[in-house]
């Protein structure tokens, strides 16, 4: 079995903080990491490799430094990697990104399974997985929380839905998107890190892929981001301080009064 895992390099949103006085995002010192939700996709592929035997390949589209994401995947135990990078790809929306990724995956040979994360923590759409499936004319199962069984031609999985879970079987080749219930991602090992250093990562640019150039990058993207703004905060908080015992009683009194005024408590 051959498995491709799609991973994206994203800014570390954990280090994103709000400036309390200006209400804007502080971007200073924000680092790039592997999309945290893609670690679960990598973990799923590694579990399959251990249980059923598989060749695993990490695929990432991004700027040249996204090679670090691919190396991290190899350090976790993934066998090989490909970086898809070209200035012409910049500004691609999910349609264009999926179009490019699908072409790259095709170029890398036959895969039985393609695994994506639930969503990337920056763009946050969760659309790439199903879009790659549609472009490659493959079936897809999203929000997979458990791998039940796999054979040469099918996988059986459980997926999370609003009020429970569904068990489904998918013919291969196909695309899965996984959620964090699939299992805690393993950490890169020292041996893996050494291997990452010596493994040659396939690099692919526009010229290496069969693409219609009017379907890629900012120009080829159906969606346009026309405005970006800070979420506005409209509430005015009535703050009372309760830093010693006498103040606690007074504060509780005021809160109860407030709750009555909002009809949370009967007055």
């Amino acid at each position: 079995m051959r498995i491709a895992v799609c991973i994206k390099q994203v800014p570390d949103t954990k280090s994103v903080k709000m400036d309390p006085t200006t209400g804007t995002v502080v971007r200073k010192g924000v680092q790039s990491i592997v999309n945290p939700l893609d670690l679960y996709a990598l973990e799923t592929a590694l579990q399959m490799k251990e249980t059923y035997g598989a060749e695993t390949v990490a695929v990432s589209m991004g700027p040249p430094q996204a090679i670090e994401a691919v190396k991290e995947a190899i350090a976790m135990g993934i066998d090989g990697g490909a970086l898809i990078s070209d200035r012409a790809f910049a500004g691609s929306d999910t349609w264009a990104t999926a179009y490019i990724l699908a072409a790259a995956i095709k170029q890398l040979g036959h895969f039985d399974l393609i695994i994506c994360g639930e969503r990337a923590t920056d763009g946050d759409t969760g659309q790439i997985g199903p879009e790659i499936a549609a472009e490659l004319d493959m079936p897809t199962v999203t929000y997979v929380n458990k791998l039940i069984a796999a054979e040469a031609k099918a996988v059986k999985v459980s997926r999370l839905v609003e009020d429970g879970a569904e068990e489904v079987a998918m013919e291969l080749p196909g695309v899965l998107t996984v959620v964090k219930e699939v299992g805690e991602p393993r950490l890169p090992t020292l041996r893996g890190k050494l291997k990452a250093k010596s493994t040659e990562i396939t690099s692919m640019a526009l010229k290496d892929l069969e693409l219609n150039t009017s379907y890629i990058g900012l120009k080829g993207s159906p969606t346009r981001v026309v405005k970006i703004f800070q979420p506005k905060v409209v509430r005015e908080c009535r703050k009372v301080y309760a830093e010693n015992e006498g103040m606690v009683e007074e504060a509780v009194e005021q809160l109860v009064g407030f709750l009555k005024s909002r009809e949370v408590l009967a007055s």
Binding site: G174, R235, R238, A242
Partner: protein, 332 residues
């Protein structure tokens, strides 16, 4: 019925689901601005007739239904083939679906095949007056920013809408509308995914239906202190929710999580205890009607979205508060 606004209604076991009526609210607001008709598509099996009429009562001018055994459970290929058939036949200008487990799966599948844009998880929609284009606004980068997105050159303009980000459209009995039944498209008879079984959530716990929620954060310090929160929740007749910090530590189970990677809630009353108000948490609760917070840090971000806040130690504030609420109860 070409060039209209369409919503993708959902059904569960034949019963039209609430998200459909939220989408009608969105659709009605757009239709009022653009003068287009509002239509609904619905796919499933043994769909209740009363549900179709309810879609009309709540705002649809037309409902297109495909009812077939192949559509009993959500499967991406049959559902996308049905949707593609609607796209071909009616050429919608706008298609709105719920950002649900099925909507977030089938919409991208269809958008890719139909070669058009799709905006994810929108919380606001509008029509640009000059161009008549759909303005789709959504949170991104973990809720740190809002982005407004357009799809100028491709049709339909498609968006998924965050569930519970708007109320359901009210019912106006006797509203006029038509129902069109379409046969199952040939290609929709085929699926490479097989549905085996549904396993309902063990815990009968639906945070999203709660009118009042007490939310606990890491300020509670350890699981052993949770009874204090339960006591407060009981006194208020509220459900208990939590931040991811609490879930990650295993103090409460995942269905309790509120925020970007948990549930989005819009209760009438939201009470945050020992919650810092990280942007990812705010993303799931900001639209609550009344927000109250107790936090020992006067600079805690939760106060920025609260209507009332107590700056203090929750272990000192909660016991007298619970006692007072309980005493009040006796007096009613």
């Amino acid at each position: 019925m070409k060039n209209d606004i369409w919503i993708v209604a959902e059904q569960h076991q034949g019963k039209v689901a609430g998200i459909s009526f939220e989408l009608l609210t969105r659709g009605l607001a757009l239709a009022a601005k653009s003068g287009q008709k509002l239509c609904a598509m619905l796919f499933g099996h043994n769909i209740e007739e009363s549900g179709l009429q309810e879609l009309i009562d709540r705002g649809a001018d037309m409902v297109a239904v495909i009812d077939a055994p192949e559509l009993k459970n959500f499967l991406v290929e049959p559902y996308s083939q049905c949707m593609l058939e609607i796209l071909r036949k009616y050429e919608p200008q706008i298609v709105l679906a719920g950002a649900t487990s099925s909507g977030r799966t089938v919409l991208p599948y269809v958008a890719m095949t139909a070669h058009t844009g799709l905006t994810a998880d929108c919380t606001e929609l509008d029509i640009e007056p000059e161009s008549g284009l759909l303005l789709q606004t959504r949170p991104a980068i973990g809720g740190n920013i809002m982005a407004t997105i357009k799809c100028p050159d491709f049709r339909p303009q498609m968006a998924t809408i965050r569930p519970r980000s708007t109320p359901q459209a009210p019912r106006l009995a006797g509203r006029a509308g038509t129902i069109e039944r379409l046969p199952l498209p040939e290609k929709a008879k085929f699926s490479r995914v097989r549905f085996d079984r549904f396993i309902p959530e063990e815990e009968e716990f639906n945070l999203q239906d709660a009118e009042r929620i007490v939310v606990v954060g890491r300020g509670i310090k350890k699981a052993e202190n949770l009874p204090l929160i339960r006591e407060l929740a009981d006194a208020l007749g509220a459900a208990v929710g939590a931040t991811r910090e609490v879930i990650d530590r295993g103090w409460l189970s995942y269905p309790h999580q509120i925020g970007l990677s948990g549930k989005t809630v819009t209760p009438k009353f939201y009470f945050a205890v020992g919650v810092s108000g990280a942007i990812q948490h705010l993303a799931g609760m900001q639209t609550s009607e009344t927000i109250v917070a107790v936090n020992s840090d006067p600079e805690a971000q939760i106060f920025q979205v609260a209507d009332f806040g107590i700056v203090g130690n929750l272990f000192e504030v909660l016991p007298p508060l619970i006692e007072k609420i309980k005493r009040g109860e006796k007096a009613w």
